[in-house]
């Protein structure tokens, strides 16, 4: 079983959730108010939430390999346009 971690701007969360849903994932979890630094040199900060730019979200999806494959295909253009990162690792249910 896989665990997919996606981190990108809060403003793209709705788009991301649509992508996740369309890939047939069994579920997902979202943590908001995540800040950080990435390839775009941007250091998001909670202090800028007031600008409407918001912070990042960290989305975790536990899913089987075929869904992971679908996510891979669907996530790449989103990340290419808006920035953000996504990584896959393996895990097993308790």
């Amino acid at each position: 079983m896989n665990r997919v971690d996606v981190i990108l701007s809060e403003r793209e969360l709705e788009r991301l959730v649509n992508v996740i849903d369309s890939c047939g994932t069994p579920g997902y979890s979202v943590a908001r108010h995540v800040t950080g630094r990435g390839a775009h040199g941007l250091v998001a900060s909670e202090a800028l939430e007031v600008t409407g730019l918001g912070t990042n979200v960290h989305v975790i999806i536990f899913c089987e390999e075929p869904v992971t494959e679908a996510l891979r295909t669907a996530l790449r253009p989103l990340l290419a346009y808006y920035g953000g990162v996504a990584f896959v690792s393996t895990c097993e249910p308790v």
Partner: protein
């Protein structure tokens, strides 16, 4: 030359002093912080309160020619400022960053407007409360002009596989952005409630009016923290942008004062109009640009506006513009 009494009268008010205190905290390395989402609370409150009060004033003044002219002038400036700003910025920056920064300067800063209004109240200078309608209507045209610039001049560099954002999404962002929506919505509510007579207005005024100065003060403490942190980042942006961030508000304000004189605005209203044109948006434009021009670097358009133009207008601009206005426009 500069009227120091006026400048001091502006600086030695609680909002501006707490703004300084916030900047000082960052410069000295204190861990003072107004944790999220408290600044958002203050910001939502200020937009709601100013919108509501503006709606009440609009209802009282009626939809006269003066109102239409003033609001029309604001929309005109919001569309024109991005054009000449873009030409200047394009000498050093690419199309995307130029358009995004230009849009920010075409639009306006709600808190600068509010601080100017508070300053007028301290001085007991009359002004037209309906100018808040101009504030609400300046975000959208600037966003649209900024995006048109990108569409017309920047399209070629987009890669084919990339997502496309249609004109619907752009208009959506321009008019339904949370800040614009809350401002216009509260304005309409204020208008409707005022039509029903004074009772409803009075019941809410304890909240929208009496608390206002305190919340503004608290919010400016936070804005001082934010501005000082951005100032640091701006240093990396180089002298061209630093110069732009200080000179552009001056140019915009002086053009605005000229227009205000032609349109026959009163001294107080002219100050509000000047401040609207001099300000740079940090609430609606960044969100719109992030979605539609992701090629632009957000730290550039946020840092110039928040790190330099905002403190400049709050501390130097407001008293300076008023001084100029007093030489150009005769007292009411």
């Amino acid at each position: 030359m500069v009227d120091t009494a006026l400048a001091l009268q502006n600086i030695l008010t609680p909002p501006v002093l707490f703004f300084f205190l916030g900047m000082l905290a960052v410069l000295l390395g204190s861990d003072l912080e107004i944790p999220a989402p408290l600044p958002k609370l203050f910001s939502l409150y200020l937009l709601l309160a100013i919108g509501f009060t503006g709606g009440v004033q609009l209802e009282r003044s009626g939809l006269s020619l003066t109102v239409l002219l003033s609001v029309g002038a604001a929309v005109f400036m919001a569309s024109v400022i991005p054009l000449y700003s873009f030409l200047i910025l394009r000498t050093r920056l690419d199309v995307y960053n130029s358009a995004a920064i230009a849009a920010a300067y075409g639009s306006t800063s709600a808190v600068t407007y509010i601080t100017a209004e508070s300053f007028l109240r301290v001085l007991e200078l009359p002004y037209d409360g309906f100018m808040v309608a101009a504030l609400a209507l300046m975000e959208s045209p600037a966003i649209i002009v900024g995006l048109l610039l990108v569409r017309l001049l920047g399209r070629s560099s987009r890669k084919p596989g990339q997502e496309k954002v249609g004109p619907g999404a752009v208009l959506h962002e321009a008019f339904l952005n949370s800040s614009v929506f809350l401002l216009i919505g509260s304005l309409l509510v204020g208008f409707l409630v005022a039509q029903q007579g004074p009772t409803g207005v009075q019941k809410l005024e304890i909240f929208t009016d009496k608390l206002f100065y305190g919340v503004l003060t608290f919010f400016l403490l936070d804005m001082g923290l934010v501005a000082a942190r951005r100032l640091n980042e701006l240093r990396r942006a180089g002298p061209f942008l630093i110069g732009f961030a200080v000179l552009m508000p001056l140019v915009n304000a002086f053009l605005a004062i000229g227009l205000a004189a032609v349109l026959g605005m009163s001294q107080g209203t002219a100050l509000l109009f000047a401040v609207l044109c001099a300000g740079s948006s940090y609430i609606a434009v960044p969100a719109a640009m992030r979605m539609t021009v992701p090629e632009a670097n957000p730290s550039l358009y946020i840092s110039t506006g928040l790190g330099l133009t905002f403190p400049f207008n709050i501390i130097v601009g407001i008293p300076l513009y008023l001084q100029v206005i007093k030489t150009v426009i005769p007292a009411g």
